[in-house]
């Protein structure tokens, strides 16, 4: 089943001024329910614009946005309800924190949903757990925390709304490798436990390959390709031409294969590569 479908989306910024710029040009994409979907593209490819269409922050000039088969703009007055169903975590979300304590900040979304105090408390605790926030930090001011911890608080703020679709725009930007792994790990365990739909926007092929089931590639406001990791990474030369490329390890394996080492083609993570090479060594 498709969780989100966007059909023929057109969007232009600063219409009718000298700064007019078409961000999306007849883009049609869909995202499978119950999966982690990757959305990848260069800076300026229209990814961030596209995700703002998905929860109704931007309204397309033309085209339709369907959430589980139903247009989100059917009743424009109820667009807020759509935002609770489609949670969107912006890039560098730590700059949106404002409350006195992390706990209150995470509770901002659920509170806006009109939930009762007990339910809010449960959601805050469980969201904090997913992102690996220690409970002692919840009573602290978000301005006292480190960058990585702030990021987690912001992430938890959206997770606590328990949306059916969770969209994350570059959730690991600016974090160190350990921080990246922890954030992505948290997202994965969250998705597995709730079996909802997740969309990760990124420009790192490594991250997308390691954590996503499907990949959608945008290029200059248009859909470039979409499919499983294997299908998309088949097109190595085109992706390289676009400046996106394929994961380093996939390229490395391809070079080994070119040199006559018999390995599988569909290797996208270092762990897979290690076990494949070990197995190959065992075979010889």
């Amino acid at each position: 089943m498709k969780a989100l479908e966007l059909i023929d989306i057109v969007y232009t910024y600063s219409k009718n001024t000298p700064f007019e710029k078409t961000a999306l040009d007849k883009v049609s994409v869909s995202f499978e329910a119950g999966r982690i979907n990757g959305l990848i593209g260069h800076t300026g490819s229209g990814k961030s614009t596209l995700v703002q269409m998905m929860n109704g922050l931007l309204r397309p000039d033309s085209g339709e946005v369907l959430l589980f088969g139903k247009s989100i703009w059917e009743e424009p007055k109820k667009i807020r309800d759509v935002r609770f169903k489609v949670g969107l975590v912006f890039q560098y979300p730590e700059y949106q924190l404002f409350e006195e304590t992390c706990e209150k900040d995470i509770a901002f979304g659920p509170k806006n949903m009109g939930l009762d105090a007990q339910e809010i408390d449960r959601r805050v605790k469980s969201a904090a757990q997913f992102v690996g926030l220690d409970e002692s930090l919840l009573v602290k001011s978000p301005f006292e925390l480190s960058g990585g911890q702030k990021r987690r608080v912001a992430l938890a703020g959206i997770m606590a709304m328990e949306p059916e679709v969770l969209i994350l725009d570059e959730p690991a930007a600016g974090l160190d490798p350990i921080g990246r792994e922890e954030i992505f790990g948290g997202i994965r365990s969250y998705q597995r436990s709730r079996n909802n739909t997740v969309i990760i926007v990124s420009h790192s092929m490594e991250d997308v390959a390691a954590y996503c089931d499907n990949i959608t590639v945008l290029s200059e406001g248009k859909l470039f390709m979409s499919g499983s990791c294997a299908e998309v990474f088949e097109h190595e030369s085109e992706l390289t031409e676009m400046g996106l490329g394929v994961p380093q390890i996939t390229r490395f394996i391809r070079m080994l294969r070119d040199a006559g080492v018999e390995l599988r083609r569909d290797i996208y993570t270092v762990e897979d590569a290690v076990s494949a090479i070990k197995e190959y060594a065992g075979r010889r």
Partner: protein, 277 residues
């Protein structure tokens, strides 16, 4: 959306006005504003309106953009018009009276004039200055014009640097505000419903992060400037020095012509089209 505010935004182009020296543009804008207020006769008003349209024409900006600049001051215009209509006592019979309310034709006349005057001043100064001059050129021009004041120890350079920085950060802050608002909307914040108190409260989740990031930016900028050895005005040279050209002379003559026109009409043709007022 917040981005739609265009008052004080630069639109790049290559018209006569774009090419003119910012110092000359500041001078001519002052001349322009003074003479808009000098205009008294009806015909002089017409002349002002035509001249303003002419300025818009030679700036090669789209007319829509100019109208957009007027949008934020519509309230002020309506307010002035309102007072002029109801508070002006004219001679002769009122056009309309009900209780203490009396409307005279003079009132309506003044209201129309005031609104046109405000619209012309705003449109003209936008076209002469902010829409056709980049903020950097503008503050640079201002600093040069005010340079003589350095002799009496006024910190002209520091003042203009502050202005440059402030102007530079307006779009950044607008963009940031937009971003934070979107982020809070994504968490269900509601900025457009409820009474005035509820709305003001709803802005808190936007203002606090905005303040925090402004301070962060300010301190980063200060560090960056120190790293590049910025020490204020002393010994500072410029990459580009301003020079007056024929364009500037033409612009000055044009505005002097405008001023002379207004005065001549005021003196010699005061009663044409004045409808007996």
């Amino acid at each position: 959306m917040i981005k739609d505010i265009t008052l004080g935004q630069f639109f790049p182009g290559d018209s006569l006005l774009h090419r003119a020296d910012p110092r000359m543009k500041i001078i001519t804008a002052l001349i322009y504003i003074v003479f808009v207020f000098v205009a008294k006769a009806t015909l002089a008003y017409l002349f002002v309106i035509l001249f303003t349209l002419f300025l818009v024409f030679i700036s090669r900006l789209r007319f829509r953009i100019i109208l957009k600049a007027l949008k934020p001051v519509i309230f002020i215009m309506v307010f002035t018009a309102f007072f002029n209509i109801f508070w002006t006592r004219g001679e002769g019979e009122p056009l309309f009276s009900y209780g203490i309310i009396r409307i005279y034709k003079e009132g309506i006349w003044f209201a129309v004039m005031m609104v046109l005057r405000v619209a012309c001043v705003l449109a003209g100064s936008c076209v002469l200055l902010t829409y056709t001059t980049s903020p950097i050129a503008l503050t640079d021009g201002l600093e040069r014009l005010l340079a003589p004041l350095k002799k009496i120890h006024l910190p002209v350079h520091e003042f203009s640097m502050m202005m440059t920085i402030a102007l530079r950060f307006i779009p950044t802050l607008v963009e940031e505000t937009d971003k934070i608002m979107s982020a809070q909307k994504a968490r269900g914040a509601d900025f457009s419903s409820g009474g005035i108190i509820k709305r003001a409260k709803a802005l808190l989740p936007v203002l606090i992060p905005l303040f925090a990031s402004s301070f962060r930016r300010a301190s980063e900028l200060a560090t960056a400037m120190e790293c590049r050895c910025y020490r204020g005005d002393k010994g500072r040279t410029r990459m580009t020095t301003l020079r007056y050209s024929m364009t500037d002379l033409a612009l000055l003559l044009l505005l002097l012509f405008f001023g002379a026109g207004v005065i001549l009409i005021n003196i010699f043709l005061p009663h044409i089209l004045s409808f007996g007022i």
